[in-house]
Every structure is written in structure tokens, then in C-alpha cells.
């Protein structure tokens, strides 16, 4: 990379100093952003429907982030900043048309999955082992079956470690909505998991 070519002959010393500082800040920003790409990808992978969509989404996110790096305030949470771009891009991709509240599946109660998994497990008493009856594929498939509005919150809070308040800010919805979607989303996830686990058992 052609670093250090700030040799405009007419530039005032303060100008070239300013340009050099800016170049340094930008490179630092880009490096910090790239260091977070694994985490950003993981969120994208579960927000988007497929690997290909996740790839596109992450690339668009970084292209936009690199263009608008000046709007990032140093010292604030860069991961949240990147994920806000990502979530907005994902929503912009015509996902809105998939919103059909009446189509949202009814979730079972919170204990449904445990009851289903443990009932044919001849009294396994170790909850850890009951969980392990689910395969990794079951989990990835079940996550992708959760409707978008619920999945966004679930992915940010349960997989991305964001607080309710951060998720609310990223998705631009009230904290109360984050909580209710999170609770319902978890129940929907468990119902999906129960279904795939039962299919395998038969």
C-alpha cells in the first residue's frame, strides 16, 4: 500500500500534518473493523437466510463502513456500529415484504422442548446430556426457521452478547419490544428444535 505519499508540494505544513493524521486514523479504523469481521460474519450468517446472502451482506457492510468511517465516533462500540449498518442493510433488502404478523407461528411454552426431549430419554437426569441430543445442524436449521423480527433480536442478544438496550438501539425499536420479541423468539426456537429432534427420532 502506498503509505507516506503525502507529498503535495504546495500543501501548507499544517495541511499535510492533518492529512497524515487523517490517513493514520483511517487505517487504524479499517484495521479495527477488519479485526471484528469474524464476529460480524457470525451475526450475518444467522440473520441472513443462506451463506451466500451472509457473504454479500458482510461485504456490503464493510464497503459502507469504509466509506463512512468518519461518522464512527472513536471510543464508542465499533461492533455495535458495524452491526447497525448490517442490520439496516438486511432490512433494506426487501425483507419487509416478508413481514406477515398473522403468519407468525404460535410458540409453545418455555418447557416444551425439555418435556419433549426428556420424555423419550428414559429418565435421563442430566440436563446437559438432554441438550446434547440436539445436533449442531438442528440448531442452525432451527435458528433459520425463526421469523426475521424475532431472529434479529435473538441473534443480537443471545449470540452477539448485546444488552437489551444495545439491541434496541441497533434495531431502532423500543427496549420493551426487544424483550417481548426475545422471549417469543426463544420459544419459537425451542419449538423448532423440538420438531427437528422429533423428526429424527421417528
Amino acid at each position: 500500500m502506498a503509505a507516506g505519499t503525502v507529498d503535495h508540494v504546495e500543501a501548507e505544513p499544517e495541511d499535510s500534518q492533518r492529512l497524515a493524521t487523517e490517513a493514520r486514523d483511517r487505517v487504524r479504523f479499517e484495521e479495527d473493523a477488519l479485526a471484528l469481521s469474524e464476529q460480524v460474519y457470525r451475526v450475518a450468517r444467522h440473520l441472513a437466510g443462506s451463506r451466500e446472502e451472509a457473504d454479500d451482506l458482510v461485504q456490503e457492510t464493510y464497503a459502507r463502513a469504509f466509506r463512512s468511517w468518519r461518522s464512527f465516533q472513536p471510543g464508542t462500540n465499533m461492533r455495535a456500529w458495524l452491526l447497525r449498518i448490517l442490520t439496516n442493510l438486511n432490512i433494506d433488502r426487501g425483507r419487509r415484504q416478508q413481514r406477515a404478523p398473522q403468519m407468525q407461528p404460535l410458540e409453545a411454552n418455555d418447557y416444551y422442548l425439555y418435556d419433549r426431549l426428556s420424555e423419550d430419554g428414559d429418565g435421563i437426569s442430566d440436563e446437559q446430556r438432554v441438550v446434547e441430543r440436539l445436533s449442531q445442524d438442528d440448531i442452525v436449521t432451527a435458528l433459520s426457521a425463526v421469523p426475521h423480527d424475532f431472529r434479529d433480536v435473538l441473534v443480537l442478544v443471545d449470540l452477539g452478547d448485546f444488552s437489551y438496550a444495545d439491541a434496541a438501539q441497533i434495531l431502532d425499536i423500543p427496549v420493551g419490544t426487544v424483550m417481548s420479541r426475545l422471549h417469543r423468539g426463544r420459544r419459537i426456537l425451542k419449538r423448532e428444535l423440538a420438531e427437528s429432534a422429533l423428526e429424527e427420532a421417528t
Partner: protein, 77 residues
């Protein structure tokens, strides 16, 4: 008076999210200490969260994507 186990189920998610008030927390713990059924279900939920998280984290970013992202950097003038 609500069935204590049904009430405990309602408290499960906020309990595990650490957002209950101290009073609610104490009440939930009192019930969990004496109810094997509820405490098993809480333990299961806790294990499930860790397990889901682990499964989701296994989704590694493709190497080519990492290279594509690095190529998106804006070259210095």
C-alpha cells in the same frame, strides 16, 4: 393465587437474563430450592443457551471472504 410452577416458568427467562428485581429473584430461588421439576427445567434452559451459542459460533467465516473484505479498504492517496 397463581400456580407456583407456572409463575416460575414466567420468571425463567428474566431470571436467566439477570433482570429480575432482588425480591423476584429471592422468590424464584425459594421455589427452585424446593421444586425439582422447575430447577431441572431451569438447568436445561441454561445448558441450551450455552449449547446454541456454541453451535452458532462454529460457523466460521470463509477465508475468501476475509480477503474480499481486506480488498474493500480504501487505498491511501
Amino acid at each position: 393465587m397463581m400456580d407456583p410452577c407456572a409463575h416460575c416458568e414466567e420468571m425463567m427467562q428474566p431470571y436467566l437474563d439477570h433482570v429480575l428485581t432482588d425480591e423476584e429473584m429471592v422468590a424464584a430461588e425459594e421455589h427452585l430450592a424446593e421444586c425439582e421439576k422447575c430447577s431441572r427445567r431451569y438447568r436445561f434452559e441454561e445448558s441450551l443457551r450455552v449449547y446454541v451459542r456454541k453451535a452458532a459460533d462454529e460457523q466460521m467465516m470463509p477465508v475468501e471472504l476475509r480477503q474480499k473484505l481486506a480488498a474493500l479498504r480504501i487505498p491511501l492517496e
